[in-house]
Amino acid sequence: MTIWVTHVLNGLSFGALLFLLSSGFTLAFGLMKIINIAHGSFYMLGAYVSVSIMLATGNFAVAIGAGAFTVLIFAIVLEEVLLRRYHLRDLPQILLTMGVAFIVSRVCLIIWGGDPLVMRTPSWLSGPLIFGDFVFPKYRIFLIVAAAVVGLLLWLVLERSRIGAYVRACVDDEEMAAAMKINTRALFTGMFGFSGLLAGLGGAIGAPYIGAYPGLDFNILPLALVVVIVGGLGSLAGAAVGSVFVGIIDSLGKALFPELSYFTIFVPMIVILAIRPTGLLGRE
């Protein structure tokens, strides 16, 4: 029994990471209809930067903050310089972000080399949590808590704040929102930056768990895609549901069919697409 609890908890902690990764992707899509191929690169960049800063300072909080902040700036620059002028033109935006993704992958390889890097877990989060005969790594619990906090904050901001109301207005009808004195351009830049921040945060918090290595960007991107396809593109709740779903299926799949582990997460995606092409919580 405990073994299954462990598998589910493992799945939840991986799902927590997936939520940090995919929530930004789905927010940027929901608001701006951008499919950001560089989202995996955002994640990887966050991971690399935070690993480096951790090495330099030894301060976990600073490392996480630096990783997330770097990607925030990078995303804002990307939106201002390249994406803005192709607003709502999906193919040019995809191609631009794809070009950026290729450049980032090579530049990271040049800066950080080809060896995988893993962040040292801060001492207060390392080691296992023991409850009787139940043993689980503390850091994975931390992941779940962190993602839950971020998810809650996101929900509060989107549903309860003025900015959130602007965002929702913009999702529904951009022109009407602009006509009501909402500065949509600033909102877009800000939200794209925020989506980068979330990805960078995911990469940084995931660094002691998954680490940073060449090819991480295009390894992690399909996971974000699967999550949003399962949950419903553009929906934050969908990203949460999809992350947990994919995380747990991945964990159980690895335990039950180790050789097929990679496929097990794609199976639910295909099943859901066949039944409900807009995802579990997606809008028509």
Binding site: D90, L96, N219, L221, L225, S261, Y262
Partner: protein
């Protein structure tokens, strides 16, 4: 710009290259580059058919390239089977994967399609890396040998590759100019319009997805034999991305552009990699530069500016065009067989029963029942939001009803797909002009004409080579006075002309039931004239339902008027009765009930 040049020209050019290149004693390195260019050209051109013609940009096209390559690697290296088993197996595999995956991917539209093809490509890529015992994992499968000894020479392989390119380019060229290709281009502009013309839109996309996948598989097979190994790179995202770059760099939807793009990218990759190690940075930069500075590709630089109204080609008068064509279709330019006489269903053309359709909490159509006699002209009136267009969508199948039934000449069509209803004889116009903006005027009528000669799925015969279709199109265009505009893309037409074409297309199919949704909306009185004339000139056997806010138009045409309000049928009668009906006056003029 969409029309690829003549095949003979390309053949000549190819033969010259073939003669020049290896025979002129250039070094093997350049012949090697030529072979790679050819392989990538096939790959990029197949993607262009999907992306540029069918409007389905795939981010996972390399999956098919990789399947074709891996099948050969696995068959010959892992299973020690003969080469042709791998080749045929690979193409069968591409077909099978296209069949299965197409069903899933084509349930979605637009950005979802992009996401899913991306996920699909990454799935196979991940499988190739992780399924090491079968695929060789990261290192791939080395040790593939060409089928025959003769092909071990680079120059000889070049000849083979060139022959394959010519054959496949010929097929693709025929494909995009055929009725099938015309329908692909049309559906990338407007699926609902093509559906309403009786084309099975989904099937076109499905077939295009599979065919282009198999062609990409051929390129992959060629690559495996040539390089002697397959690796996960063959189905990686960067492979898909390179193909997309070749397509957009050369010019999307031009077919020859991607060939040019392949030449450029292959040359750059191989020549620059002598100096720089970081091809991915250059590739990435190229993406950005191409999007910023060559949005229409290199072919776009040479493309003509938007065509003016003057006909571009030699001044061919309609009389000449008609004279050229044999009189297969009768002079009325109709297929009389399509208009079925009134008998057989007690003279009822359309019977709508208890139809309900809601959008969320809004009931757009509430328990509507009415019937229309064959040959009757009915006007549907009602204020904005009364549910008239929704009713049309329900009748044509663009929307499904929540409940209720619809019968056409006694046959239930409630569950029929839209294109089947169109073939059963329902023609329609759209309230908001729904044409194919990037198709020319005459191509619109070709789409209708090809329907009449039942060649919708012809793939290897040019769409403009059907004499009776050309005659039909010329005749229809002459009648509405758009013959001089025949070669203009429809997006460059005036609004009035677009409305006229909208009506002419629906009428030209000689439907048994014609639904006109505000044909005169937004037109000036001068522009309304021709449309009213067209409606008056309709075959008297044709049943017509017209929604129109212009009372003069509606009441001039109608024998009977049905009035709608809030999704309900509120009044029915002759135009004169309706004119005097208090309820109707109240709805329209807001007068209080006495």
């Amino acid at each position: 710009m969409r029309k690829p040049g003549s095949f003979a020209f390309v053949l000549a050019a190819a033969l010259i290259i073939a003669w020049l290149a290896p025979a002129s004693g250039i070094s093997d390195f350049y012949v090697h580059l030529l072979v790679l260019m050819i392989i990538y050209a096939i790959f990029a051109m197949s993607l262009d058919v999907l992306m540029g013609y069918a409007g389905l940009p795939s981010l996972g096209h390399a999956a098919f390239f990789g399947l074709g390559a891996y099948a050969i690697g696995i068959a010959t290296v892992k299973l020690s089977l003969p080469w042709w088993v791998g080749l045929i197996g690979g193409l069968v595999l591409c077909t099978a994967v296209g069949l299965v995956f197409g069903v899933i991917a084509l349930r979605t539209h637009g950005l979802y399609f992009l996401l899913i093809t991306l996920a699909f490509g990454q799935l196979l890529w991940g499988a190739a890396i992780r399924w090491g015992s079968f695929t060789g994992g990261f290192n791939g499968l080395p040790g593939i040998v060409p089928p025959v000894e003769w092909l071990k020479s680079t120059v000889n392989f070049f000849y083979l590759a060139l022959a394959v390119l010519l054959a496949l380019a010929f097929i693709m060229l025929r494909l995009v100019t055929s009725p099938f290709g015309l329908a692909l281009r049309a559906l990338s502009d407007s699926e609902s319009r093509l559906n309403a013309l009786g084309y099975h839109v989904w099937l076109y996309k499905y077939v295009a997805f599979i065919v282009t996948g198999v062609i990409a598989g051929c390129a992959g097979a060629l690559n495996a034999f040539y390089n002697g190994f397959v690796s996960s790179r063959d189905l990686s995202i960067s492979m898909s991305a390179e193909a997309i770059l070749m397509v957009i760099l050369g010019g999307t939807g031009t077919l020859w552009g991607p060939l040019l793009g392949a030449v450029i990218i292959v040359a750059l990759r191989n020549l620059l990699s002598i100096y720089f190690e970081d091809w991915l940075i250059i590739l990435g930069a190229f993406f950005i530069v191409a999007v910023l500075y060559a949005p229409n590709g290199i072919m776009g630089w040479f493309a003509k500016r938007p065509k003016s109204s003057a006909p571009r080609d030699e001044d061919q008068s309609p009389a000449v065009a008609i004279a050229k064509a044999p009189a297969v279709i009768a002079a009325s330019a109709a297929a009389p067989s399509k208009v079925v006489s009134r008998q057989g269903s007690d003279g009822v053309a359309l019977a709508v029963n208890n139809l309900v359709r809601t959008f969320g909490g809004v009931v757009a159509v509430r328990n509507v029942s009415f019937s229309v006699r064959a040959g009757e002209r009915v006007a549907l009136l009602g204020p904005n939001g009364a549910g008239k267009t929704t009713l049309f969508h329900l009748i044509t199948g663009a929307l499904a009803p929540n409940s209720g039934t619809i019968a056409l000449f006694g046959q239930s069509i409630t569950d029929l797909a839209p294109y089947k209803r169109a073939r059963a004889g329902i023609g329609r116009t759209f309230q908001i002009t729904n044409l194919f903006p990037r198709l020319t005027v005459i191509e619109h009528l070709r789409l209708c004409g090809i329907n009449l000669v039942d060649s919708r799925f012809a793939m290897l015969k040019p769409a403009d080579s059907y004499a009776e279709v050309e005659r039909f199109a010329a005749d229809a265009l002459q009648r509405i006075g758009l013959w001089d505009e025949r070669n203009s893309e429809v997006r460059h037409l005036s609004y009035g002309h677009q409305r006229q074409l909208e009506v002419a297309m629906a009428v030209s199919l000689q439907p048994r039931l014609l639904l006109l949704d505000e044909p005169a909306a937004g037109l000036s009185p001068a522009e309304i004239g021709p449309i009213v004339a067209t409606i008056h000139g309709l075959d008297s056997a044709m049943t017509v339902i017209i929604v129109e806010h212009d009372m003069d138009v509606a009441l001039a045409v109608a024998e009977r008027v049905i009035v709608f309000n809030h999704g309900e049928l509120v009044a029915e009668g002759s135009p004169d009765t309706i004119r005097g009906d208090e309820e109707v006056q109240r709805i329209y003029l807001g007068r209080r009930r006495a």
